[in-house]
């Protein structure tokens, strides 16, 4: 009688020790994500520091010529601005395509479309988002440049590899992101606001443009920043379609090079580990990581703020 309770308590304690082990294992799974972030930063930092030991950080951050040397002994010019220039061109170009189309799609889906149309349109846009980037790049090279840009703007003006084709391709890739986040923001606008506007005699257009879009503006802004961040991080479509010529230009019909394309080009050329050019990869990766991180954080902050308004 006296012996039973301790026995029971022992088995229960054993069960709890087992559970605690499991919970610890689950906790380890969740914390692994922090290890990934630490890993990314460590990997980028180590070789970036190595790179700046051999090539000056001031030249990197202010230089306007990117002409990496080919071998281990050959020093090159490592000014990052041509690549940032190319990256921003693709980002801005993609937004010029993706923002109007994405927001129009979002207004249509949220305010105009019947639920039947929405059931067809939304999965279709998801398919567009799911096309592998290398296939989109092929499409840009084989269709957008020869069959769309060249007939309109002239074959002699539009290079085979050009920033415009890359921008359109990336713009189509971020369209579903902008459309779906903007639509979520628009649907979060309380219907009482719409009903009040309708009650004052507004048409559907006026309700959409003067009530829903202004109320959802922060969500739309967040989607655009996120879309821009995706465009900046996109690699294959721009490598294939926009070319590999790092230069300071604003001409969208010329060949350019983005940060991502420069990384892809370097690794594709089998560069030996430890050379300046190899270490430069990580400096470019760090630049890219910081740019996208900053934009993702801004976007997340805006989303959090607009959720507080209606929730």
């Amino acid at each position: 009688m006296v012996a039973t309770p301790p026995e029971l308590s022992i088995t229960r304690r054993n069960a709890r020790t087992g559970e605690r082990l499991i919970v610890n294992a689950l906790f380890a799974c969740a914390v692994l994500s922090i290890a990934v972030t630490v890993g990314i930063i460590a990997v980028l930092l180590v070789d970036t520091v190595e790179f700046f030991r051999e090539s000056s950080i001031v030249k990197f951050l202010t230089g306007t010529v990117w002409a990496p040397g080919q071998g281990a002994g050959v020093d090159g010019l490592y000014g990052v601005w041509p690549l940032i220039n190319g990256t921003l061109m693709i980002g801005v170009g993609a937004i010029l395509v993706g923002l109007p189309l994405g927001v129009l799609t979002a207004i249509y889906l949220s305010e105009y479309a019947s639920s039947r149309v929405r059931r067809v349109l939304k999965p279709t846009l998801e398919i567009l988002a799911g096309i592998p980037t290398v296939v989109v790049g092929f499409f840009a090279l084989q269709f957008i440049t020869p069959s769309l840009l060249r007939p309109i703007f002239g074959t002699d003006r539009v290079f085979i590899f050009n920033a415009a084709a890359g921008s359109i391709a990336v713009g189509l890739m971020i369209l579903p992101i902008i459309a779906s986040i903007s639509e979520d923001a628009m649907r979060a606008v309380p219907s009482s606001l719409r009903e009040a506007a309708f009650g004052l005699g507004s048409t559907r257009r006026q309700v959409s443009l003067r009530v829903v879009v202004p109320a959802a503006l922060s969500g739309i802004a967040a989607s655009v920043i996120l879309g821009f961040s995706r465009a900046v991080g996109e690699t294959m479509a721009v490598t294939i379609a926009a070319g590999n010529s790092p230069k300071m230009t604003l001409n969208f019909f010329e060949s350019i090079q983005t940060l991502t394309a420069s990384i892809a080009q370097t690794v594709n050329g089998e560069v030996a580990a430890g050379t300046v050019r190899y270490n430069a990869l990580f400096a470019l990766g760090m630049t890219l990581f910081l740019m996208t991180l900053a934009m993702n954080l801004i976007s997340a902050r805006i989303v959090r703020r607009y959720r507080q308004v209606y929730a």
Binding site: V23, T105, G130, P132, T260, N296, A300
Partner: protein, 302 residues
């Protein structure tokens, strides 16, 4: 009062009438603009798929057996996708083995066990940020840690680990949503019958959340299998004439081959790239179909 209305009525009506005309015209223009803007995305998708089929269909159907079962070649007519296709399958299975248990474990912890404190908030913010890191940066992570530091080389193991790390945040988010969708009454019922917390999660919550989790995992894998940049960065080979027998053997992948063929000047290679793209799109479509089937067939409506 009546006098005032009488005085105001005619002019107000007239102005109102002309405005209404313009208003209706604007309304029609706006709805047309909206519809056209929405349709552009669909037209782009159709044009993309048409371009791929227009370029690659003849190459694929001319000798489908030969295309699927030949290795790469300098001669586009003889080139096939065998090693890349099998390599992609190996990568996909191994990636799933790595990231599915860890992703589900993390999701279950965050939804069921995590205390509301700073550590949890930090982990959550961190996962959200990881989901936004460009895939090429994951490639640099794989190159620095798996290929060089852990000396795996450009191998099947390094490729699968890189893709797994990249897919992890996506799977965690999907699994969390599935776990959250399980109603509280199920948990409370299990507790009332004397189940411990883990027993409840293991026997009730996880099985109920499994269809949603699997759907999310398949969608994440279909994205991973279409990725080129991380595999390119860790240096997986394109020209390869064997299958991996070991985790440390080199492996190739379908998107890498498509990239290589797209970059070549000969039109015949562009056709081969389009034909390989058709195979890749078919593979992704099949995976998505399985995901939708799982979602519709097994998801429990509470």
């Amino acid at each position: 009062m009546t006098a005032a209305t009488d005085v105001l009525a005619p002019s107000t009506l007239r102005r109102g009438a002309s405005r209404t005309g313009a208003k209706i015209a604007l309304d029609i223009v706006f709805s047309v603009v909206l519809f056209v803007g929405t349709i552009v995305g669909v037209v782009a998708l159709v044009t993309l798929i048409w371009t791929i089929f227009d370029n690659g269909w003849e190459r694929l159907v001319a000798d489908p057996g030969g295309f699927l079962t030949s290795y790469v070649s300098r001669f586009p007519a003889r080139a096939g996708i065998k090693a890349a296709l099998i390599g992609s399958a190996y990568l996909m299975v191994l990636t799933a083995l790595f990231c599915f248990p860890i992703g589900v474990g993390a999701a279950v912890y965050l939804e069921e066990f995590a205390p509301r404190n700073r550590v949890t908030n930090f982990v959550e913010a961190n996962i959200a940020n990881l989901a936004g890191v460009p895939s090429v940066v994951y490639g640099l992570l794989g190159l620095g840690i798996f290929v060089r530091f852990l000396q795996m080389g450009p191998s099947l193991l390094a490729g699968a680990l890189t893709l797994a790390v990249m897919s992890l945040p996506v799977i965690i988010v999907a699994a969390r949503e599935a776990v959250r969708a399980v109603p509280q009454s199920i948990r409370l019922g299990a507790y009332a019958l004397g189940a411990t917390k883990w027993q409840t999660v293991r026997r009730q919550v996880l099985p109920a959340a499994m269809p949603g989790t699997l759907t999310g995992t398949i969608l994440a894998l279909s994205r991973a299998i279409g990725e080129t940049a991380p595999l390119l960065v860790i240096g997986l080979p394109i020209v390869i004439f064997s299958f991996p027998n070991d985790l440390r053997d080199p492996v190739s992948a379908l998107p890498l081959l498509i990239f290589d063929w797209t970059s070549r000047p000969q039109p015949a290679f562009a056709e081969a790239a389009a034909a390989a793209s058709i195979v890749l799109l078919a593979l992704l479509l099949a995976m998505n179909a399985v995901a939708i089937f799982l979602r519709n067939r097994y998801t429990i409506r509470w």
